[in-house]
């Protein structure tokens, strides 16, 4: 087995990207419009890439399943975006951002990518300000910053609690400008169902028009997947209802390797689930941990209202366990500790599934106005959902699936193992290792879209041989036929259970076996259970309606069918990674004080799974990880 080659340029870490950029081949301006790029997804990564490629002169198509590109789920990111500007004079630097991100990811990310990300972080802020993103400002007119988990500097830029929305509108508006200029064609309400491979390279997609049900064959010279993460495999997550694994899963089935599928982030600060009708979970931004203090009653069964529990009877467990980072430890630690505390019977609220996030002290210090200024919209959202106001009563929070570090494997050029298929943003695996730090997803999506892909895709075009293919090419006809067949199969069964019921059952299985803590026994059992449930799905599901219409149950059915196949790969990956690292906590591997115990001897690598056939076991490829500047240490936030 040959290890995967990430094509990382040689030379010192600090100059890799600069040198690589100088060496990348270019496409002449007049030739760019002859190249057609299909961008799937219109979130931060997709919209930024589509707009930037069009600005350069490429011919771009941009697909999204939402009715407008502005609704992609990046819109929901609350807290902020990191950049190593060092505006606070608090010792920040590109190296520190790089180091924090690499360490935060528990040394399971590719060093060269992370360094490049840190290097580009400042350009992103510049770009967004130029577009008119209304970042928070100081009275003197300069940009304001806040701090986030896992770091000791303030480098997070924000637009109230709606940073993702504002950054996305910036990218969306750039995209709109290119659409008006005729260089981008939008395909809203279209869902990609397959990548079409011709001559060993990705040459287009099959997409379903969600209104008419038509399956369109869409040839292109390169395909860019910017389709986000797969947290909805757990059924309940903070992701939008439509988020799915379908695009990257279908690409995997066409030959693109899938890296670290078990690296899923469970976010510590979400509103705990209510009843069984719960459709999704709502995140409360990590930025709240700047001023909110997390605690539980010191003794189990303390039924007093939180305000009546005196200091002496409270356990501020994060501050106690991690005195130097306190409430701002990375997400994986905060989540795991919350679970452990609740499992030990100290949790608060219905079912004991919650801990307090208390603003009492911050309200005394900053006043109601000061707190409203920082978190007003989050407090309002919390009150709207729970009926309680955090100005008076501490929030109750519990961890929930939020982000997926795993995704399609890409090399340094963001190209997957399938030539001509590029993967950007959350859909790829590259920069966050086994745990993502807060405010760095937005950074990565925009770095990929504005500043990396536009260079590397040109290099691909400059050297690839791409004979013209038309929509009636055999490969397109074949893929379209398969997609049609698949939809028919979904609609054929008139079983007893709805798609939603199957999705719930799958989600529960994965949450228990492949969520915040995992074990060989649990994962083994889950693998069997998922297979059994998948068989039941194909025998007993009822979808209803038909394929030539707006059919939301059919959309959901296709996504859940893919989640079934994918969930199996996730558990398999978690089982094979016989160590703990970051979010991946294998109960068999922990330090005496309950932290993740990495095994660098055996697992300092990326695991990338190669599809070998529907009924065959996938092959586990490796990309060894080397660290030239930072020696992997045991993460300590104590």
């Amino acid at each position: 087995m040959t290890p995967l080659d990430a094509h990382v340029p040689s030379g010192p870490l600090e100059s890799k990207w600069t040198r690589h950029r100088a060496e990348l081949r270019l496409v002449a301006p007049a030739n760019k419009r002859k190249f057609h790029v299909a961008v799937i997804g219109s979130g931060l990564a997709g919209a930024a890439a589509a707009a930037s490629l069009a600005e350069l002169g490429y011919t771009v198509s941009c697909f999204c399943f939402q009715d407008s590109p502005r609704r992609a789920h990046s819109v929901a990111a609350q807290g902020g975006i990191n950049a190593a500007k060092n505006y606070q004079n608090d010792g920040d630097s590109v190296f520190r951002l790089f180091h924090d991100t690499l360490k935060g990811g528990d040394f399971r990310a590719r060093e060269a990518n992370v360094y490049r990300l840190a290097e580009l972080s400042g350009n992103i802020i510049d770009q967004c300000v130029a577009q008119g993103v209304p970042f928070a400002r100081e009275y003197g007119g300069q940009l304001a910053n806040r701090s986030f988990g896992g770091v000791q500097v303030s480098r997070t830029f924000y637009a109230r609690g709606q940073t993702g929305q504002q950054l996305l509108l910036g990218a969306y508006q750039a995209l709109a400008r290119q659409t008006a200029a005729g260089r981008v064609r939008l395909y809203p309400r279209h869902e990609m169902l397959d990548v079409v491979v011709v001559g060993g390279a990705a040459r287009g997609v099959i997409a379903r028009d969600l209104v008419s049900g038509d399956l369109i064959a869409h040839p292109a010279d390169a395909v860019v997947l910017a389709t986000g993460g797969y947290s909805n495999v757990y059924h309940l997550s903070t992701n939008a209802k439509g988020c799915n694994v379908t695009a990257i899963w279908r690409a995997y089935r066409r030959g693109a390797a899938f890296a670290n599928p078990c690296f899923t982030q469970i976010h510590p600060t979400c509103i705990p689930p209510g009843g069984h009708h719960q459709a999704k979970l709502t995140l409360m931004s990590e930025s709240l941990r700047n001023d909110g203090r997390i605690w539980v009653p010191a003794t189990a069964g303390d039924q007093r209202a939180p305000g009546e529990i005196p200091e002496s009877d409270r356990d501020y467990y994060l501050e106690r366990l991690y005195p130097s980072f306190g409430n701002l430890v990375p997400r994986d630690l905060a989540s795991r500790r919350a679970k452990a505390i609740c499992d030990s019977g100290l949790g608060v609220g219905p079912g004991g599934q919650g801990v307090y996030l208390d603003f009492r002290d911050a309200l005394e210090r900053l006043g109601r106005q000061g707190i409203a200024e920082r978190y007003g919209n989050l407090f309002d959202m919390y009150e709207r959902i729970t009926g309680e106001t955090p100005y008076a009563v501490p929030m109750r929070i519990y961890p929930a699936p939020h982000y997926t570090m795993g995704g399609l494997w890409v090399d340094y050029n963001l190209e997957s193992t399938l030539p001509g298929l590029f993967v950007i943003g959350e859909a790829n695996f590259s920069d966050h290792g086994a745990n993502r730090l807060g405010a760095s997803a937005l950074m990565q999506g925009l770095a990929d879209g504005y500043f990396i892909l536009p260079y590397t895709i040109g290099h691909y075009f400059a050297q690839a041989s791409l004979p013209r293919v038309a929509a009636d090419h055999d490969a397109f006809r074949g893929a379209r036929g398969e997609a049609l067949e698949w939809l028919k199969r979904l609609l054929a069964k008139s079983g007893r259970r709805t798609v939603e019921q199957f999705h719930q059952a799958l989600g529960r299985l994965l949450w228990d076996a492949c969520g915040m803590s995992r074990s060989a026994a649990g994962l083994g059992a889950a693998l069997d259970a998922i297979r059994a449930l998948r068989t039941e799905f194909w025998e007993d599901v009822y979808v209803g309606g038909d394929a030539a219409d707006l059919n939301q149950a059919l959309e959901h059915a296709g996504r859940v069918a893919d989640f079934f196949e994918f969930g199996e790969l996730m558990c398999r990956d978690a089982l094979e990674r016989d160590e703990s690292c970051g979010c991946h906590f294998r109960e068999e591997h922990q330090t005496p004080d309950g932290e993740a115990a990495r095994d660098d001897e055996r697992f300092a690598h990326v695991a990338a799974w190669q599809f070998t056939g529907s009924d065959a076991s996938p092959e586990r490829l490796r990309e060894p990880l080397e660290f030239s500047t930072v020696r992997p240490s045991t993460r300590s936030y104590r």
Partner: protein, 254 residues
């Protein structure tokens, strides 16, 4: 609690629609309005009836996908609340709710509660942006923006593009939507060079797309889940006049 729903059912754009009455007992006060529709849809599937089509995605009130008129009011009766964030604790048991799609000439119904809001994207394409190519930006802190101006920009920039303002307006105007974008970008120095062109182009496009004129009813701002202020419309009108009076309109935006 029990809830009676009269939901607009329309199989396709060209088909006739009508209200259909549904009853459900399976509602708890902590459920959101969309979760009620979820429950109803599961019940409809169990009876082999066609579920109700409605747009929704983030369910956090930020993506702008959901939108329906509930008892005559876009997004329902609560101030500053999208349908996905509208919780049943605000309704009495046995309440009767009439649920219909956005009604506006510019938003044709696609199916049931789903409408085509594409025209809002077309308005932004006409000029709702600052032309700033990736790679051309100066260092961010060289552009100083006072906190008050930044806050004003942010107030207007919060628009989620849901279309409630259009649905609320007796004229089916998109004035508040256009004004919010214009005000966001006009509050910032970066937006200044294209200010007049932007306003002229977006307004012209809005009219061409079948949105009605603004006659200052103010229904839009009352329905807006992000409480975009009517002041933005006053500013849009001023900027529009300036645009008409300026010497050299840009050929490519008008």
């Amino acid at each position: 609690m029990r809830v009676v729903l009269h939901v607009w059912r329309q199989p396709a754009r060209s088909a006739h629609g009508r209200f259909v009455r549904y009853e459900t007992d399976d509602v708890t006060p902590d459920m959101s309005f969309l979760e009620v529709l979820d429950v109803l849809n599961e019940a409809l599937r169990a009876r082999r009836e066609e579920p109700i089509a409605f747009d929704h995605d983030c369910r956090e009130g930020i993506c702008g996908a959901c939108g329906m008129v509930i008892n005559g009011r876009p997004h329902g009766p609560r101030r500053a609340t999208t349908a996905c964030q509208l919780h049943m604790r605000h309704f009495r048991a046995d309440t009767e709710l009439w649920v219909e799609p956005w009604r506006a000439r510019a938003f044709p119904v696609i199916k049931d509660l789903v409408v085509d809001r594409g025209p809002l994207d077309r308005v932004i394409e006409a000029g709702g942006f600052i032309s700033a190519r990736a790679g051309s930006a100066p260092e961010a802190n060289t552009t100083l923006i006072g906190k008050a101006a930044a806050d004003r920009a942010m107030d207007a920039a919060q628009c989620i593009g849901c279309g409630a303002c259009v649905a609320a307006c007796p004229n089916g105007s998109a004035m508040l939507f256009v004004a919010a974008k214009a005000a966001h970008l006009a509050a910032l120095p970066q937006g200044e060079p294209e200010r007049a062109d932007r306003v002229a182009a977006m307004t012209t496009r809005m009219d061409a797309l079948g949105f009605g004129p603004c006659s200052n009813h103010g229904e839009c701002t009352a329905a807006c889940p992000k409480e975009i202020s009517l002041d933005t419309i006053a500013q849009l009108n001023r900027d529009y006049l300036t645009a008409l009076l300026r010497a050299e309109p840009r050929a490519d935006t008008l």
